[in-house]
């Protein structure tokens, strides 16, 4: 058969090699020392993990693999048992996660804050206002362009709480000025920068965001902008494949003096971005 048989045999050999390589990789994956942490895009985009994780990995030899998605999706990953640890910033959703039995031992780790970012032209005149709910009210009044992540992330939930605090039913009041992008923090900032719109952002992402154009921080410091991070072990009783021992080591390290100091040591553009506040078991 000459050429045809040779090329056919070659094809089959390539196929077998590919399958063998895949099989061996599958077999290896099971006993590799790594844990999977479901976290959020804003935490990853800040660069915290690039700074923090090598310290943990060097100390324990355990590789930490971070899947960064929106808070809602991160918790969903935890519910499915596809991660060993969930590390997000939406206390209400986290507590529900534990109540459902998907997570155990929630610990508070650190907080950062949100900032209201907007165009320097400030059409709604909110710059410097200390009450962020009042600022939101003025934006709604002026119908100034406002970008919402609208993705059930921790940031989005915080935004909705502020509309609530301002006494505004945003579903009623929203119009063309209220732009729901359904996207991550970076994408929302890009959109706001392009549209000269207001947007609520976590400080971490903002500090490392490069495409600011005319945007600047207009409102900050209101206690309502306080953003608490929690870490939860995915419940091994419900999800037997969870690498409990290694995952617990990670959680313990995060709340230990060493981990907390490392978090405090992380700087973005020379500023401290996250503030450690682990103080024993979660409330």
């Amino acid at each position: 058969m000459g050429m045809t048989r040779r090329s056919f045999v070659r094809l089959v050999c390539d196929g077998c090699m590919a399958l063998a390589a895949t099989a061996s990789l599958v077999a290896n994956a099971a006993d590799e020392r790594y844990i999977t942490v479901a976290s959020t895009t804003s935490t990853e985009a800040s660069g915290l993990f690039d700074f923090l994780l090598p310290k943990f990995e060097q100390k324990t030899g355990i590789e930490v693999r971070v899947v960064a998605v929106g808070t809602g999706q991160a918790l969903d990953i935890g519910r499915r048992g596809d991660a060993d640890v969930v590390f997000v910033h939406d206390a209400a959703a986290e507590k529900q996660f534990v109540a459902e039995g998907h997570g155990i031992d929630r610990r508070e780790v650190m907080y950062n804050d949100f900032v209201l970012v907007g165009p320097t032209s400030d059409p709604a005149k909110v710059a410097g206002i200390s009450d962020v709910a009042a600022a939101f009210a003025k934006i709604a009044e002026a119908k100034a362009p406002f970008v919402s992540r609208a993705d059930r992330s921790g940031t989005h939930m915080a935004e909705l709480r502020i509309w609530d605090a301002a006494g505004i039913d945003i579903d009623e009041r929203k119009g063309r000025w209220y732009r729901e992008t359904g996207s991550g923090m970076g994408a929302a900032l890009n959109t706001a920068a392009a549209m000269d719109a207001y947007v609520l952002s976590d400080r971490g992402t903002w500090l490392s965001f490069e495409n600011r154009r005319n945007l600047a921080i207009l409102v900050q410091g209101d206690p309502r902008l306080f953003n608490q991070y929690g870490v939860i072990l995915v419940n091994p009783a419900k999800h037997p494949d969870v690498k409990q021992q290694q995952a617990q080591k990670f959680i313990d390290w995060l709340v230990s003096d060493e981990g907390q100091a490392a978090i405090a040591g992380f700087r973005l553009r020379g500023e401290q971005a996250f503030f450690p506040n682990a103080d024993g078991r979660g409330r």
């Binding site: 050429m3 045809t4 090329s7 056919f8 094809l11 390539d14 196929g15 590919a18 895949t22 990789l25 599958v26 994956a29 099971a30 999977t36 895009t41 990853e44 985009a45 993990f49 690039d50 693999r65 971070v66 899947v67 960064a68 998605v69 519910r79 499915r80 048992g81 596809d82 996207s183 991550g184 923090m185 970076g186 994408a187 900032l189 890009n190 920068a193 992402t205 490392s208 965001f209 490069e210 495409n211 600011r212 999800h239 494949d241």
Partner: protein, 234 residues
């Protein structure tokens, strides 16, 4: 315009400095997409050729279906594969989620209809010419299909390249099933998405330039192979 020149500068700098992170990402992209194309070709080439040669009930429906599946949205494939490979899903035991293997599977699913549909078309065109000869020689359907595949190999190179282009360019599937984990499942397209979301547009564009260069290089190599083969075998 400054964005583009900044991007061009970033690209050049990345390539010449041999940035190890970039190298890792590029190698992983190639590994994943080439593996996906290989798997899809191993399955799709014979099916495409047999579809051209064999006659059976439901053949036309199958052809219409594979043609339509060429337009499968990557993000949908990613979601379906994710649900299958999730621990909570039917294939959770395999522990393949958030690994390069899952990315290969998802991309192979995306590429398979392309390989089948394009192979079938080329094989059907050839079959109309070769049918008399092959039936005259008493060749079985399978042997006929294999003979066709070798003779239309120039078109098949283009087909495989189309598949590779599709795999290398997509981000929706690999993002969901891979998780864009730094150093593990981060490929060029997901890295570009990440840098874009961080607002680092020049870097994202630069990565895009690198990705396009690689795809062009692969295409050029394939073209040369085709040329050489044509010179040798006519």
């Amino acid at each position: 315009m400054s964005d583009f020149s900044a991007a061009f500068g970033a690209a050049i700098e990345m390539i010449t400095s041999g940035n190890p992170q970039l190298v890792g990402i590029v190698l992983l992209s190639l590994k994943v997409s080439l593996s996906a194309v290989l798997v899809a070709s191993l399955i799709g080439l014979p099916i495409g050729a047999l579809l051209a040669v064999a006659r059976f009930p439901g053949r036309r429906t199958l052809i219409v279906l594979t043609n339509a599946l060429m337009g499968l949205p990557p993000v949908v494939v990613g979601l379906v594969v994710y649900l299958l490979l999730s621990r909570a899903g039917p294939l959770g035991e395999l522990g393949l989620l958030f690994t390069p293997q899952a990315m290969v599977i998802a991309q192979a699913i995306l590429v398979l209809p392309i390989v089948i549909a394009l192979t079938r078309q080329a094989a059907e065109d050839a079959w109309s010419v070769y049918r008399d000869l092959l039936r005259s020689l008493g060749a079985s359907q399978w042997r006929s299909a294999v003979t066709l595949l070798w003779d239309i190999r120039a078109s098949l190179v283009t087909t495989v390249l189309a598949g590779f282009g599709r795999a290398a360019a997509e981000v929706g599937a690999v993002m969901i099933v891979g998780g864009n984990i730094d150093g593990v499942t981060r490929v060029m397209t997901t890295a570009i998405a990440l840098e874009t979301s961080k607002g680092d547009l020049p870097l994202a564009l630069g990565l895009g330039a690198v990705l396009i260069s690689i795809v062009v290089a692969v295409n050029a190599a394939a073209y040369l192979v085709n040329e050489w083969s044509a010179r040798r075998y006519g």
